[in-house]
């Protein structure tokens, strides 16, 4: 076949280039999508980008209805994703509140409840039921949860004073001790 050389034999180079570029583009796209899915949540050690959280009225953070995450530098932040329809969240709700009442007086720890795709009415029922007093707000347009790439609720993120993520808890806590342990590590 190398000997007989019929006219118009090969594919024009530009078509070859177009085909390969197209194919490569497609594969890269799928690869990126796949790697994003395989990535898992934001990993400990990463600096958390700034985001805004608007609170439910009655659940503000020291009187402010909206905060930026960067405002909380210098404090240890416990960021808890939950939802009122989530059964496992109920397991840890009381423990979280207990931990909050213990650490609130120190003024060095902030608890933030991020309500993941929920209705406000149901969220309020839930908050009241478990007597939660720390700041809570809705994850509007799921921006925060998409940033953290949460896999479900509940998930809790512990951020240190410099705004660096230190620990991720997937699923409910086994008890209040587990929460204390993580906070104490960051307070040192």
């Amino acid at each position: 076949m190398t000997e007989t050389n019929p006219p118009r034999r090969a594919v024009p180079l530009w078509i070859q280039i177009v085909v390969w570029v197209f194919l490569a583009g497609l594969l890269v796209l799928v690869a990126l999508g796949l790697s994003r899915r395989q990535q898992g949540t934001v990993q400990p050690g990463e600096v958390i980008d700034d985001f805004a959280l608007t609170f439910y009225s009655g659940y503000e953070l020291s009187g402010k209805t909206e905060i930026k995450f960067s405002d909380l530098r210098g404090k240890v932040v416990v960021l808890n994703f939950w939802a009122s329809w989530c059964k496992p969240c109920e397991q840890e709700a009381a423990d979280l509140q207990q931990a909050w009442t213990e650490y609130a007086p120190t003024g060095e720890v902030v608890f933030l409840g991020v309500d993941y795709v929920d209705t406000e009415a149901d969220a309020r029922v839930y908050l009241k039921k478990f007597g939660i007093t720390y700041a809570n707000g809705a994850d509007l347009a799921t921006k925060i949860s998409q940033y953290f790439r949460i896999k479900g609720v509940p998930e809790t993120y512990f951020v240190d004073r410099e705004g660096v993520l230190r620990y991720v808890q997937i699923g409910p806590f086994s008890g209040v001790d587990q929460i204390r342990e993580q906070i104490d590590l960051l307070l040192k």
Binding site: W85, L140, A141
Partner: protein, 188 residues
């Protein structure tokens, strides 16, 4: 009658929006038409069905479902909200009902869901142009390519065009049969 009233309100609101942004108006108008048909259907169905709730201002399940059909469950992915059986979805349908009672229009409710739960809650991708433009362009490209190829293949044809002219003289019946036989014979 309820429908008519609501239609008027909707109309006025739409006019306001039209003044604000011309581009949006076209979109709203199509939605408006859709809404009109839905409301018409609802008015018809309400008058047809001996449903007790139809008299009061409380929206029927059908009204709720008509809107929920256009939304997707924000947690169980790719499940339309009207058929999703989970507890969370029941809460969201309740939310729609609540908003209907408050007099919110369908567009407002859908927009609220997008704002609160992210673009994923709507079945229509937010960027209409990108979502439709790319496949349409690809299809046009394909068509152009095929037509071009057909043109290229067509060139040497002068010799063959004489044959069918001769065939056409034959009686219709025989011609058909011959053609059939020919094709059957040609089959290898």
């Amino acid at each position: 009658m309820i429908g008519d009233l609501r239609l008027e309100i909707e109309e006025r609101k739409n006019e306001l929006k039209t003044e604000r942004k011309i581009l949006m108006a076209t979109q709203k108008n199509t939605n408006y038409k859709l809404l009109f048909t839905i409301l018409l259907a609802l008015v018809l169905s309400i008058s047809m069905y001996s449903f007790a709730s139809a008299q009061g201002p409380a929206p029927t399940d059908d009204e709720v479902n008509a809107i929920a059909k256009k939304l997707f469950c924000p947690v169980c992915e790719n499940t339309p909200l009207d058929v999703c059986p989970t507890e969370a979805c029941r809460q969201w349908r309740e939310q729609i009902r609540q908003m209907l009672i408050e007099g919110k229009t369908e567009d407002e409710i859908i927009q609220y869901f997008i704002d609160t739960y992210g673009a994923r809650a709507s079945g229509d991708p937010p960027n209409k142009i990108a979502s439709y433009l790319i496949p349409v362009t690809a299809i046009f490209l394909g068509t152009a390519l095929l037509l071009r190829a057909l043109q290229m293949w067509k060139k040497p044809k002068a010799a063959e065009s004489a044959i069918p002219a001769g065939e056409a003289k034959q009686v219709h019946q025989d011609e058909y049969f011959n053609k059939l036989e020919d094709e059957l014979k040609k089959r290898k």
